[in-house]
Protein backbone atom coordinates (compact mmCIF):
# COMPACT_ATOMS: atom_id res chain seq x y z
CA UNK A 1 0.00 0.00 0.00
CA UNK A 2 2.94 2.26 0.75
CA UNK A 3 3.98 1.94 -2.88
CA UNK A 4 0.58 3.18 -4.10
CA UNK A 5 0.52 6.13 -1.71
CA UNK A 6 3.87 7.54 -2.84
CA UNK A 7 4.15 9.63 -6.00
CA UNK A 8 4.67 7.23 -8.91
CA UNK A 9 8.04 7.38 -10.63
CA UNK A 10 8.21 7.80 -14.41
CA UNK A 11 9.00 4.10 -14.91
CA UNK A 12 5.70 3.24 -13.23
CA UNK A 13 3.50 5.95 -14.78
CA UNK A 14 4.76 5.50 -18.37
CA UNK A 15 4.04 1.75 -18.56
CA UNK A 16 0.60 2.22 -16.96
CA UNK A 17 -0.25 4.78 -19.67
CA UNK A 18 0.85 2.23 -22.29
CA UNK A 19 -1.44 -0.29 -20.56
CA UNK A 20 -4.36 2.15 -20.77
CA UNK A 21 -3.69 2.60 -24.48
CA UNK A 22 -3.50 -1.17 -25.00
CA UNK A 23 -6.77 -1.77 -23.13
CA UNK A 24 -8.64 0.81 -25.23
CA UNK A 25 -7.64 -0.97 -28.45
CA UNK A 26 -8.07 -4.41 -26.92
CA UNK A 27 -11.70 -3.56 -26.24
CA UNK A 28 -12.21 -2.32 -29.79
CA UNK A 29 -11.90 1.46 -29.49
CA UNK A 30 -9.00 3.92 -29.57
CA UNK A 31 -7.03 6.17 -27.22
CA UNK A 32 -7.53 9.90 -27.76
CA UNK A 33 -9.04 12.43 -25.37
CA UNK A 34 -9.37 15.64 -27.40
CA UNK A 35 -11.99 14.28 -29.82
CA UNK A 36 -14.40 14.47 -26.88
CA UNK A 37 -14.27 18.25 -27.25
CA UNK A 38 -15.92 17.89 -30.66
CA UNK A 39 -18.51 15.57 -29.13
CA UNK A 40 -19.30 18.32 -26.58
CA UNK A 41 -19.81 20.74 -29.50
CA UNK A 42 -22.15 18.31 -31.24
CA UNK A 43 -24.17 17.73 -28.06
CA UNK A 44 -24.29 21.51 -27.52
CA UNK A 45 -25.90 22.00 -30.94
CA UNK A 46 -22.87 23.11 -32.99
CA UNK A 47 -24.32 21.17 -35.93
CA UNK A 48 -26.52 24.22 -36.55
CA UNK A 49 -23.42 26.16 -37.57
CA UNK A 50 -21.50 23.65 -39.65
CA UNK A 51 -21.97 20.12 -40.95
CA UNK A 52 -18.62 19.25 -39.37
CA UNK A 53 -20.44 18.75 -36.07
CA UNK A 54 -23.43 16.93 -37.57
CA UNK A 55 -22.40 13.49 -36.42
CA UNK A 56 -24.05 10.79 -34.37
CA UNK A 57 -22.31 11.50 -31.08
CA UNK A 58 -23.71 8.35 -29.50
CA UNK A 59 -21.12 6.40 -31.50
CA UNK A 60 -18.48 8.15 -29.39
CA UNK A 61 -20.24 7.64 -26.07
CA UNK A 62 -17.56 5.10 -25.06
CA UNK A 63 -15.06 7.99 -25.05
CA UNK A 64 -17.32 10.18 -22.90
CA UNK A 65 -17.59 7.26 -20.47
CA UNK A 66 -13.77 7.03 -20.47
CA UNK A 67 -13.56 10.73 -19.57
CA UNK A 68 -16.14 10.24 -16.83
CA UNK A 69 -13.90 7.47 -15.48
CA UNK A 70 -10.89 9.82 -15.61
CA UNK A 71 -12.82 12.34 -13.47
CA UNK A 72 -13.69 9.61 -10.96
CA UNK A 73 -10.06 8.41 -11.01
CA UNK A 74 -8.93 11.96 -10.19
CA UNK A 75 -11.43 12.06 -7.34
CA UNK A 76 -10.29 8.71 -5.94
CA UNK A 77 -6.62 9.72 -6.11
CA UNK A 78 -7.17 13.11 -4.54
CA UNK A 79 -9.24 11.76 -1.66
CA UNK A 80 -7.71 8.40 -0.82
CA UNK A 81 -4.39 7.88 -2.59
CA UNK A 82 -2.53 11.18 -2.17
CA UNK A 83 -1.49 11.87 1.43
CA UNK A 84 0.42 15.03 0.48
CA UNK A 85 -0.23 17.62 -2.19
CA UNK A 86 3.42 18.51 -2.40
CA UNK A 87 5.23 18.09 -5.74
CA UNK A 88 9.00 17.75 -5.31
CA UNK A 89 10.57 20.02 -7.92
CA UNK A 90 14.06 20.87 -9.02
CA UNK A 91 15.15 23.79 -6.74
CA UNK A 92 16.12 25.70 -9.88
CA UNK A 93 12.51 25.39 -11.13
CA UNK A 94 11.21 26.80 -7.84
CA UNK A 95 13.63 29.72 -8.11
CA UNK A 96 12.83 30.38 -11.78
CA UNK A 97 9.11 30.45 -10.98
CA UNK A 98 9.64 32.85 -8.06
CA UNK A 99 11.51 35.12 -10.47
CA UNK A 100 8.51 35.30 -12.84
CA UNK A 101 6.01 35.84 -10.02
CA UNK A 102 4.83 32.35 -9.08
CA UNK A 103 5.55 31.74 -5.38
CA UNK A 104 5.74 28.53 -3.32
CA UNK A 105 6.11 26.34 -6.42
CA UNK A 106 5.50 22.68 -5.63
CA UNK A 107 3.71 23.20 -2.30
CA UNK A 108 0.53 22.09 -4.10
CA UNK A 109 -0.17 20.50 -7.51
CA UNK A 110 -1.19 23.80 -9.08
CA UNK A 111 -0.11 27.46 -8.71
CA UNK A 112 -2.73 29.59 -6.98
CA UNK A 113 -1.61 32.45 -9.25
CA UNK A 114 -3.53 30.66 -12.06
CA UNK A 115 -6.01 28.27 -10.44
CA UNK A 116 -7.29 29.85 -7.22
CA UNK A 117 -10.96 30.87 -7.10
CA UNK A 118 -9.96 34.53 -6.63
CA UNK A 119 -7.78 34.40 -9.76
CA UNK A 120 -10.55 32.71 -11.73
CA UNK A 121 -12.98 35.46 -10.73
CA UNK A 122 -10.60 38.26 -11.77
CA UNK A 123 -10.80 39.49 -15.36
CA UNK A 124 -7.16 38.75 -16.16
CA UNK A 125 -7.22 35.38 -14.45
CA UNK A 126 -10.39 34.33 -16.25
CA UNK A 127 -8.99 35.38 -19.63
CA UNK A 128 -5.74 33.45 -19.02
CA UNK A 129 -7.70 30.26 -18.24
CA UNK A 130 -10.07 30.74 -21.17
CA UNK A 131 -7.33 31.55 -23.71
CA UNK A 132 -5.26 28.56 -22.56
CA UNK A 133 -8.28 26.36 -23.15
CA UNK A 134 -9.10 27.84 -26.56
CA UNK A 135 -5.48 27.29 -27.71
CA UNK A 136 -5.53 23.67 -26.54
CA UNK A 137 -8.92 22.92 -28.12
CA UNK A 138 -8.33 24.72 -31.41
CA UNK A 139 -4.78 23.39 -31.75
CA UNK A 140 -5.68 19.81 -30.87
CA UNK A 141 -8.49 19.64 -33.40
CA UNK A 142 -6.49 21.36 -36.15
CA UNK A 143 -3.64 18.90 -35.57
CA UNK A 144 -6.12 16.05 -35.22
CA UNK A 145 -4.98 14.93 -31.78
CA UNK A 146 -3.42 15.84 -28.45
CA UNK A 147 -0.81 14.24 -26.23
CA UNK A 148 -2.68 10.92 -26.13
CA UNK A 149 -3.56 10.59 -29.82
CA UNK A 150 -0.36 12.07 -31.27
CA UNK A 151 2.45 11.78 -28.70
CA UNK A 152 1.52 8.36 -27.32
CA UNK A 153 -0.44 6.51 -30.03
CA UNK A 154 0.95 8.28 -33.11
CA UNK A 155 4.61 8.06 -32.13
CA UNK A 156 4.17 4.42 -31.06
CA UNK A 157 2.70 3.74 -34.50
CA UNK A 158 5.63 5.57 -36.20
CA UNK A 159 3.36 8.17 -37.81
CA UNK A 160 5.10 11.10 -39.51
CA UNK A 161 2.10 13.45 -38.93
CA UNK A 162 2.38 12.75 -35.20
CA UNK A 163 6.11 13.48 -35.17
CA UNK A 164 5.39 16.85 -36.85
CA UNK A 165 2.59 17.55 -34.35
CA UNK A 166 4.78 16.70 -31.35
CA UNK A 167 7.54 18.98 -32.69
CA UNK A 168 4.81 21.64 -32.93
CA UNK A 169 3.73 20.94 -29.32
CA UNK A 170 7.30 21.63 -28.23
CA UNK A 171 7.76 24.76 -30.34
CA UNK A 172 4.56 26.19 -28.82
CA UNK A 173 5.37 25.00 -25.31
CA UNK A 174 8.89 26.44 -25.38
CA UNK A 175 7.64 29.80 -26.69
CA UNK A 176 5.03 29.97 -23.92
CA UNK A 177 7.35 28.83 -21.11
CA UNK A 178 10.43 30.86 -22.02
CA UNK A 179 9.00 33.98 -23.67
CA UNK A 180 5.34 34.54 -22.77
CA UNK A 181 4.88 33.22 -19.20
CA UNK A 182 7.45 35.69 -17.77
CA UNK A 183 5.28 38.54 -19.11
CA UNK A 184 1.97 37.35 -17.64
CA UNK A 185 2.48 37.33 -13.85
Amino acid sequence: MDFIMQPWAWFVAGPVIALVMFLMYYFGERFGVSSNLETFCTIGGAGKFTDYFKVDWKQNSWNLIFVLGAIVGGFISANWLTPTNEVVLNPQTVKDLADIGIQNAGSTYLPSEIFSIETMLSLKGFIVLLVAGVLVGFGARWAGGCTSGHAIVGLSNLELPSLIAVIGFFIGGLIMTWLILPLIF
Partner: protein, 137 residues
Protein backbone atom coordinates in the same frame (compact mmCIF):
# COMPACT_ATOMS: atom_id res chain seq x y z
CA UNK B 1 -23.61 -1.22 -19.40
CA UNK B 2 -21.46 -2.47 -22.26
CA UNK B 3 -19.31 0.64 -21.77
CA UNK B 4 -18.45 -0.07 -18.14
CA UNK B 5 -15.01 -1.34 -19.17
CA UNK B 6 -14.17 2.09 -20.58
CA UNK B 7 -15.31 3.63 -17.32
CA UNK B 8 -12.89 1.37 -15.44
CA UNK B 9 -10.02 2.09 -17.86
CA UNK B 10 -10.81 5.78 -17.41
CA UNK B 11 -10.47 5.41 -13.63
CA UNK B 12 -7.05 3.79 -14.13
CA UNK B 13 -6.11 6.67 -16.45
CA UNK B 14 -7.25 9.24 -13.89
CA UNK B 15 -5.24 7.56 -11.15
CA UNK B 16 -2.03 7.32 -13.19
CA UNK B 17 -2.36 10.95 -14.31
CA UNK B 18 -2.71 11.98 -10.64
CA UNK B 19 -0.17 9.66 -9.06
CA UNK B 20 2.39 10.31 -11.80
CA UNK B 21 1.87 14.05 -11.07
CA UNK B 22 1.15 14.59 -14.78
CA UNK B 23 -1.80 16.76 -13.75
CA UNK B 24 0.58 19.14 -11.97
CA UNK B 25 1.07 22.45 -13.79
CA UNK B 26 4.62 22.49 -12.39
CA UNK B 27 5.58 19.21 -14.08
CA UNK B 28 4.73 20.68 -17.48
CA UNK B 29 6.63 23.89 -16.77
CA UNK B 30 9.62 21.86 -15.56
CA UNK B 31 9.51 19.74 -18.73
CA UNK B 32 9.61 22.77 -21.02
CA UNK B 33 12.49 24.19 -18.94
CA UNK B 34 14.39 20.88 -19.35
CA UNK B 35 14.85 20.80 -15.56
CA UNK B 36 13.57 17.30 -14.90
CA UNK B 37 13.58 13.93 -16.58
CA UNK B 38 10.17 12.98 -15.13
CA UNK B 39 7.85 13.82 -18.06
CA UNK B 40 10.38 12.69 -20.67
CA UNK B 41 10.70 9.38 -18.86
CA UNK B 42 6.92 8.95 -18.75
CA UNK B 43 6.30 9.76 -22.42
CA UNK B 44 9.47 7.91 -23.50
CA UNK B 45 8.65 4.70 -21.63
CA UNK B 46 4.98 4.79 -22.71
CA UNK B 47 6.03 5.18 -26.36
CA UNK B 48 8.73 2.49 -26.09
CA UNK B 49 6.20 -0.03 -24.78
CA UNK B 50 3.67 1.36 -27.26
CA UNK B 51 6.03 0.56 -30.16
CA UNK B 52 6.10 -3.09 -29.09
CA UNK B 53 2.31 -3.18 -28.60
CA UNK B 54 1.69 -1.66 -32.05
CA UNK B 55 4.15 -4.11 -33.60
CA UNK B 56 2.30 -7.03 -32.01
CA UNK B 57 -1.03 -5.58 -33.24
CA UNK B 58 0.35 -5.51 -36.79
CA UNK B 59 1.76 -9.02 -36.50
CA UNK B 60 -1.69 -10.10 -35.24
CA UNK B 61 0.02 -11.67 -32.22
CA UNK B 62 -2.21 -9.47 -30.08
CA UNK B 63 -5.87 -9.53 -31.05
CA UNK B 64 -8.87 -7.77 -29.62
CA UNK B 65 -11.05 -9.12 -26.81
CA UNK B 66 -13.42 -10.38 -29.48
CA UNK B 67 -10.59 -12.05 -31.38
CA UNK B 68 -10.42 -9.52 -34.23
CA UNK B 69 -7.36 -7.95 -35.78
CA UNK B 70 -6.58 -4.54 -34.21
CA UNK B 71 -6.04 -1.77 -36.75
CA UNK B 72 -4.84 1.72 -35.91
CA UNK B 73 -6.40 4.34 -38.18
CA UNK B 74 -3.60 6.55 -39.56
CA UNK B 75 -3.34 10.21 -38.58
CA UNK B 76 -4.23 12.79 -41.20
CA UNK B 77 -1.27 13.88 -43.28
CA UNK B 78 -0.44 17.53 -43.85
CA UNK B 79 2.42 19.73 -42.73
CA UNK B 80 0.34 22.82 -41.92
CA UNK B 81 -2.37 21.16 -39.86
CA UNK B 82 0.08 19.19 -37.75
CA UNK B 83 2.69 21.91 -37.33
CA UNK B 84 0.45 24.97 -36.82
CA UNK B 85 -2.16 23.03 -34.88
CA UNK B 86 0.64 21.54 -32.81
CA UNK B 87 2.17 24.93 -32.05
CA UNK B 88 -1.16 26.40 -30.88
CA UNK B 89 -1.74 23.30 -28.78
CA UNK B 90 1.74 23.62 -27.25
CA UNK B 91 1.14 27.28 -26.34
CA UNK B 92 -2.05 26.29 -24.54
CA UNK B 93 -0.51 23.19 -22.94
CA UNK B 94 2.30 25.19 -21.34
CA UNK B 95 -0.08 27.95 -20.20
CA UNK B 96 -2.78 25.70 -18.73
CA UNK B 97 -0.19 23.14 -17.59
CA UNK B 98 -2.67 20.52 -18.69
CA UNK B 99 -3.55 18.76 -21.92
CA UNK B 100 -7.10 17.43 -22.44
CA UNK B 101 -6.73 14.21 -20.38
CA UNK B 102 -5.40 15.88 -17.21
CA UNK B 103 -8.02 18.64 -17.52
CA UNK B 104 -10.75 16.13 -16.74
CA UNK B 105 -8.73 14.46 -14.00
CA UNK B 106 -8.39 17.88 -12.34
CA UNK B 107 -12.20 18.18 -12.30
CA UNK B 108 -12.20 15.06 -10.13
CA UNK B 109 -9.56 16.63 -7.92
CA UNK B 110 -12.04 19.44 -7.31
CA UNK B 111 -10.24 22.26 -9.15
CA UNK B 112 -13.08 24.58 -10.09
CA UNK B 113 -10.97 26.86 -12.31
CA UNK B 114 -10.21 24.01 -14.71
CA UNK B 115 -13.84 24.17 -15.83
CA UNK B 116 -13.04 27.52 -17.46
CA UNK B 117 -10.16 25.86 -19.33
CA UNK B 118 -12.41 22.97 -20.46
CA UNK B 119 -15.06 25.46 -21.58
CA UNK B 120 -12.33 27.31 -23.51
CA UNK B 121 -11.10 24.07 -25.07
CA UNK B 122 -14.62 23.20 -26.21
CA UNK B 123 -14.95 26.71 -27.61
CA UNK B 124 -11.60 26.22 -29.38
CA UNK B 125 -12.81 22.97 -30.96
CA UNK B 126 -15.95 24.85 -32.07
CA UNK B 127 -13.87 27.68 -33.59
CA UNK B 128 -11.86 25.06 -35.48
CA UNK B 129 -15.02 23.40 -36.77
CA UNK B 130 -16.48 26.63 -38.15
CA UNK B 131 -13.20 27.92 -39.63
CA UNK B 132 -11.61 24.70 -40.88
CA UNK B 133 -12.42 25.32 -44.54
CA UNK B 134 -10.41 28.55 -44.43
CA UNK B 135 -7.37 27.03 -42.70
CA UNK B 136 -4.39 25.42 -44.44
CA UNK B 137 -4.12 21.67 -43.87
Amino acid sequence: MKHIKFFLIGILFGIVMSKGEIISWYRIYEMFKFQSFHMYGIIGSAVTIGLVVMFLFKKKTLKSFEGNEIRISPKKKGLYRNLFGGILFGLGWALAGACPGPMFVLVGKGVLAILVVIFGATLGAFFYGVSKDKLPH
